[in-house]
Every structure is written in C-alpha cells, then in structure tokens.
Amino acid sequence: MDTEKPNKSSLDDIVELVNDSEISSIKNIVSGIIKIINDPKSTVKDLNEIIQIDPPLSSRVLRLANSAYYCPPKKISEIIRAIIWVGYDAIKELALSQKVCKLLNINESLQGCSRSSLWKHSISVAMLSKMIYRREYGERGDNMYAAGLLHDIGLIILEQFRQDEFKAILEKLNAGEKDIISIESELLGFDHAELAKAVMESWNIPKELCMAIGNHHNPLDVDKRYSRMTKTLFVADCYCQEIGRGLCDCAVIDRVSYENCLNTLKIHKNALNLIMEDAEKEILKMEQEGFFS
C-alpha cells in the first residue's frame, strides 16, 4: 500500500477536524499546564491564570481546597489561595486530569470499551508511570503523568471522526485476530498513536511527550533521547492491561518488548506491583472525590 502521502494528508485532515472541534477546547489548558510544568520560573500566578478562565475547573479546584481532606481554616474562595493551600503540584495534576477526563467523557461508550475503562486506563497509566519516575529513577514525573493521560486520545478522535472505520477496527479486534495497531494501519494507513502524536504536535506539546505518545506501542523505535519516557509509558500501559486496567478486555500484549523494556529500564517485576499498590490508593481517593463522575 502506498500509504505515505495519502496517510499524511488523511492524518492532516483529521488533525484539522480535531482543531476545529470541541476537542480543541482543552488545548489551551492542557498545553498551558504542560508549559508551566516545564518552566522553572513559573509561579502560582501562572497556574491561577490558566484555571481562572475555566469555570468548571475553577469550581472543582475550590471544592477540593475546601474539602474535608484539606480542611482550610477559613473557607477558600480564591483560586490562588486554593493553589497555595492544596499545593502547586497537586493542582497542576488535578487540572490536567480534569480536563482530559472531560474529553474522554464526551464520547459515547466505545463498543467493547466503556467510558470509564478508557478513563480509568488513562489515569492508571498516568499515575503508574509517574510513580515509576519518582521511585525508580528518583525524578519528578509531571510530564510523564501528562503523557500518560493523553496517550490514548487518538482512539477518541477516531471514534468521533472516523466512525465507520473505527467500528470495523473494533470488530476485528474483538475477533481477536491481531493487535490494534496492525488493524488500524491496515484500515487507515496509520494508528491511533500516530494520530495522537500529530494532534499533540499541533498543540505545541513538547517533543518528548509527543514522541512517547506516538510510539507507545512501539517503544523500541524511538531515538535514545526519548526512549526512557516512551519505554516507561509502554511498560505502564502493558502492566495496566495485565492487571485489568486495560483499555479493552481483549488486547494483545507484546511480551517480548515488555521484557526488553523492563530490562533496559532496570525495573524489577515486583517493583511494579509495589508501586501499583500505592497508585491504586491514589486512584481510589480520586474516585471517592468524584473525579470519575
């Protein structure tokens, strides 16, 4: 199949469609927060500015700050005070999660993959991969968290803008023939990872994240610079799949690559179990806070 040129144009078409659609409503906030994450000079004020203009997000932030868990001495009614009270990092995460959740919620249930599955899967991957960064590498995992949240966004896009093809893809997936990437490439000429990458690039998301998202099914193909993030993402994705926090019930895991990445990253198998325990606790907390509603 002579797929290069038509792929590109077809891909570009979809990107254009996306950016003209409601999906792009989260663009500003998402790219804004990721920028803040990567700017050492950024302050509470910058975050405040981003949050202020989004009423549902603002109210969510205030609600959190005034919740029993955080228990402020006086009721907090200003975003900036909420950020200071709850924590700069915490609110960054909250905002990202909120926004992407909203996106993943606007779609009807994917055949074979429920809404919450996609959302739960994304947040699990995000949380796990972030914690891997912190506990295995001793580094902050904010960017990783963002990448984790966004990695499967391509599926939502396909479901919205290539409905027929998507249906076909799911059918074939349910039939259990191949992995999703192969099916997509066959039917579309590109896969959901590439699609997501293209959209992220159009949103000026940093290169590292784009590469990780774009190659989260083929981590061995990336450049050394981006390999750690990509491989971590891949590992988290596979692990979640294994423990039932996967995307679809019958997804195929590439064992070989999995083992390879674990070795390269020097992650012990049990480490993931340990980390996931705490990650689950966090996710449970979020559930209780009503994040998934």
């Binding site: 302050t43 912190r134 295995e136 580094e139 012990h268 480490a271 340990l274």
Partner: protein, 571 residues
C-alpha cells in the same frame, strides 16, 4: 528442598524489601527536594514581597512629600489671593480658610477651624443661610451676592460667590466661599456719583444763567424805555401835582425792576465788575448797621477777626449779597431773633467735608448764622436755585440767594449752607484772601443830574431806546443824531464828523456789532469819544472794546442822572 525454598523465599522477601527501600528512599529524597525548593520559593517570594513593600513604602513617602508640597502650594496660592476664601461643611463648620479670612475674624487659624460660621458671623445669618441652602440643595453656585460682614476692622461690604463643594460621589457636602471686599470700590462709586451730581448742578446753574442773562438784556431795554419816558415826564411835572407821585412810583418800580435784572445778571455772572481789594470787616459793619436800623427786632452779633486779610471783590456786589443773606435770615427769623456774623482767616486745609474741593490757598471765611426756623433737607438742596422761594409767589422772587451764589462763584469763592429744621441756618462763605493792600473806602456816589452841551450820535437798534434816549439827551441839552444800525451810523458820522462830540454806541446790534462800529469810527477819527451801552453787564467782550480805547461804559437801564454824569465825564 525446604532450605532452598526458604532461601529463595527469603531472597525474594529481601529483594522485595530492597525494592521498597529503594522506592521509599527515592520518594523521600524527591519529596525533600520538592519541599526544599518550595521553601526556597517561598523565601524568594517573601524577600520579593519585602522588597516590594520597601519600594511601596518609598513610593508612598515620595507621594506623601509631593502631597505635602502641593498642599503648601495651594496654601500659598490661597493666601496670595486678594479675596477672602473659606470652606465650610453643611453644618456651617469651618474646614479651611485663607489668611485673609482669618484676619477678618481677628482670631488665629486654629481657633477658627472647627468653629461654626454662624457663631463667628451672627449678623445677617438668615440671609446667607438661605444662599448656603440653595447651593447645597441645587449643587449649583450662587454668585455675586452683595453682603455685609463684620470684620475686626468694622463692617465691610463684600461681593461673595458661593461654590458647591462636591465630594467624590458628586454629593454637595460643603460650600466654598470666595469674597471680595468692595467697600472701597463702593465708596469710590459714591464719591463719583456725588461729583457727577455736583457737575450736573453746576451745569444746570450755568444754563439757567445763560437764560437769565438773555432775559435780563431784553428786559433792560424795556426798562430803559419805561424809565426814560417817566424821567422825561418827571422833569416837566410839578412836584405838587398828583401825577408827580405816580411818576415817582413808576421810577421806583423800574428801579426795582432793574434791581431784579441786575440780580439775574449777577446770577448769570455777567456783572459790571469793579474789583478792588476791600476789607470785608468794614463792608460787613456797614451793611450790618444799615440792616440793623431797618430791622431793629433782630439782634446782630459781630465777631470779626482783627487784621483780616483783604478780599478782591466788587464792593457793590458783595454788599448786595450780604444784604440778600441778611434779608433771608430775617425772613427765617420772623418776629425776633439773633444773627451771628463771624469772620476768620483760614487755609484750604481747614475746609473739610464740603461738597466742593477748594483750591489751595488762604481764604476768608464769613459765617452768617440765624436762629430762625431752619430748613429741611429738600429745601436746603434747592436753596440756591433761581426762582426757588419758600416765601410764596407774592413775596419772594427766588433770586436773592441765586444771585448771592452767582456773585460768590464769580469771585472764585465757595458758599455752603447747613441747616436744621427748627434750629436755624448757617451760611458759610469762603472768599480767596487777597495778598494786596486794602483800598480806601470811597464815598458812595450820588448821581446828580448834569446838563451839558454838544452833539451826540446815538446808535441803537432798539426803536424804543433810540426814541427815549433822544428825548433824554435833548432834555439834558444835547443835540442828537440818531442811527438805527451800524452802517447808517457810519454814514452819518462821516458826514458830520467835525460836528459830533461824542458817540453813544449800543454794543449788541444785528448786522454790524458795536465792536465793529467802534473800529470803523476809529478809522474815521482815531480820537472819537465813545460811550458803550449795553443791556448786558461789562463782560469780556465789552472790556475788550473798552481796552481798545472806549471812553466809558453804561449799563441799561440807566437813569438820566447816570447818563448825564457819564457824558460829562467823557466830554
């Protein structure tokens, strides 16, 4: 088997624990780093805040200084203003004022600010409170109100503007007052009005004077006719005859008439002036004695300064004026009373608070005070008006005081009167003191009838004068050649120049004036003897002709005796 299993399980446990430790260590280290950076951030923010506070404080101080400076500037401006500026709130509490305002209150600033305006200025408060109310209610200024205000220097007139003071919400919360002290300006206006009135009065007098003069002239001509005819008749009438009495009466009446006209002319200041330096005291004494004899019931007190300077006056006119004043006083007194006459020497500096401004120099002040009925203000204002009299039309001509006024003014003096109804009247006459010596008092002349011989050329445009004049002159023994106008006169003179001894020339004639005729006569005969006659008095014009060589002047109406005297003197 068990041992290996145990070993393996321990190994597993250990490796698990090692993992846990690694994870915890990493997480802790990371959290520690994050906290440290958070604290560092806070410190940075804090020091940033400190810096910002310091900057703000500097800014505030700078602004404070600027504010103080502006406040001082405002204060300087307010104090430099010539106006009175104050600022009070809606309850009349004084919030601010400029220097001039405090000066008015006579109190130091700190005792004024915070006090009620109505307490400091209780007078007229009903009025100004009304204005304040208006400003407060309508929020619009009330301008240019004239008010009086009691200051530490007395009551002053002010023109005051009231401006609403609006606070930041636009509500009127107070009144700003700007006032100018217009007292001096008002006084100047009053003074100006007074001077204008004076000027108008003087102008009125002058125009009346001109009118009067004209009337007098015509009148004199008529009187001339009457007197002449009656005199002629008298000359032929037997004193025993009853007609004699009637004719004498006519003569008297004409004399009265001519007195009247003379007074009118005096008033018009066109008199036959014979200025000499006289001793006012002697004139006063003379008139007083004459008058005293006539009106014995009035006691005259004389207080005359010894060695009084002389006055340059026409004696007859001054005596006439004195007489008029005495008569006036006598009428006011009625049955009996006192008359106080006083003379002093003063300078212009002693003459104060008069409606006139005297020229610098020394004066003789003559005061005539009576204990009569006095005048009210209205009468006093009109007392010098000609034809104004309180005596009723039959008795008063209204010319007495008018002619006195005219006389005094003509002598470059001033006359003033003060009076109070029921208390009496005082006249003040100021005459410039003369520096020259006092002349002798000559004996009064009694004109006698003198007959003579000669040819007289009589020139007059009035028919009646010519006729009468001819008769008179004939009676006196002269031969008369008549001429009704200048050109005829010249013709006649040319023809009879060797025969004509004297010319009696009327000054005012149509076509060719007396002056011109005189010149022409002179041309014909440089030594021609001419007597000028006129219904007017000896004024500048006549004087000029006199200076050119006229031999004499006689004023109409003249009596035969007078005429005869004059002619005799000339020939």
């Amino acid at each position: 088997m068990d041992k290996r299993e145990n070993k393996n399980s321990y190994r597993e446990k250990i490796s698990l624990l090692e993992l846990k430790i690694k994870h915890l260590k990493n997480d802790l280290l990371l959290t520690k780093k994050e906290n440290e950076s958070a604290i560092a951030n806070y410190f940075e923010i804090y020091s940033d805040v400190e810096k910002k506070v310091a900057e703000r404080t500097k800014d505030v101080n700078r602004l404070k200084k600027k504010l103080e400076q502006k406040a001082k500037e405002l204060e300087l401006m307010l104090d430099a203003s010539p106006g009175i500026i104050f600022f009070k709130d809606h309850e009349q509490i004084i919030l601010r004022g400029n220097k001039k305002f405090f000066k008015i209150t006579g109190l130091p600033a700190h005792e004024v600010i915070g006090k009620r305006y109505t307490n400091l200025f209780p007078e007229g408060r009903d009025e100004y409170l009304k204005a304040d109310m208006e400003v407060m209610k309508k929020g619009k200024p009330v301008l240019n109100r004239k008010e009086s205000i009691r200051t530490s220097d007395g009551v002053r007139s002010i023109s005051i503007d009231r401006i609403p003071y609006k606070d930041i919400d636009g509500h009127t919360s107070g009144v700003i007052g700007f006032a100018l002290d217009i007292t001096d300006m008002e006084r100047a206006e009053e003074e100006k009005k007074r001077l204008e009135t004076q000027l108008q009065y003087a102008q009125k007098m002058e125009s009346i004077g001109t009118l009067a003069g004209g009337i007098a002239h015509n009148f004199n001509n008529l009187l001339m006719g009457i007197l002449g005819n009656s005199s002629l008749m008298l000359m032929d009438t037997d004193p025993e005859s009853p007609n004699y009495h009637y004719l004498k009466t006519i003569e008297q009446l004409v004399k009265s008439g001519s007195d009247l006209t003379r007074q009118l002319l005096n008033y018009a200041r066109e008199s036959d002036f014979q200025i000499k330096v006289w001793d006012l005291n002697s004139l006063v004494r003379e008139i007083s004695s004459t008058f005293g004899v006539a009106r014995k019931e009035i006691v005259i007190h004389l207080d005359l300064e010894a060695g009084l300077a002389g006055v340059k006056v026409d004696r007859d006119l001054i005596e006439q004026s004195l007489l008029n004043l005495y008569i006036n006083a006598a009428d006011a007194i009625g049955e009996s009373g006192e008359l106080y006459i006083k003379t002093v020497r003063i300078t212009h500096k002693d003459i104060k608070k008069k409606p006139f401004n005297p020229k610098p120099g020394s004066y003789v002040l003559l005061t005539i005070r009576d204990t009569g009925s006095g005048m009210d203000e209205k009468t006093k204002e009109r007392i010098f008006d000609p034809f104004f009299t309180t005596k009723g039309l039959a008795k008063g001509t209204g010319l007495g005081l008018a002619s006195v006024y005219g006389t005094i003014k003509a002598h470059l003096g001033y006359i003033d009167v003060s009076s109070e109804k029921g208390k009496g009247t005082t006249f003040y006459i100021y005459l410039p003191a003369a520096s020259e010596e006092i002349a002798e008092i000559p004996k009064p002349q009694q004109p006698e009838l003198i007959k003579g011989k000669g040819v007289i050329l009589l020139i007059d445009d009035e028919e009646i004068v010519i006729e009468t004049g001819e008769q008179i002159l004939k009676k006196l023994g002269y031969t008369v050649i008549k001429a009704g106008n200048g050109s005829r006169a010249l013709e006649l003179y040319k023809e009879n120049s060797d025969k004509i001894d004297m010319v009696l020339l009327d000054m005012i004639m149509p076509e060719m004036s007396g002056g011109e005729v005189f010149n022409r006569l002179r041309e014909i005969n440089p030594g021609v003897k001419v007597i000028l006659s006129s219904g007017y008095s000896l004024d500048g014009y006549a004087r000029e002709i006199m200076d050119r060589g006229c031999n004499g002047f006689i004023q109409k109406p003249f009596s035969i005796a007078e005429l005869s005297q004059k002619i005799m003197n000339t020939l």
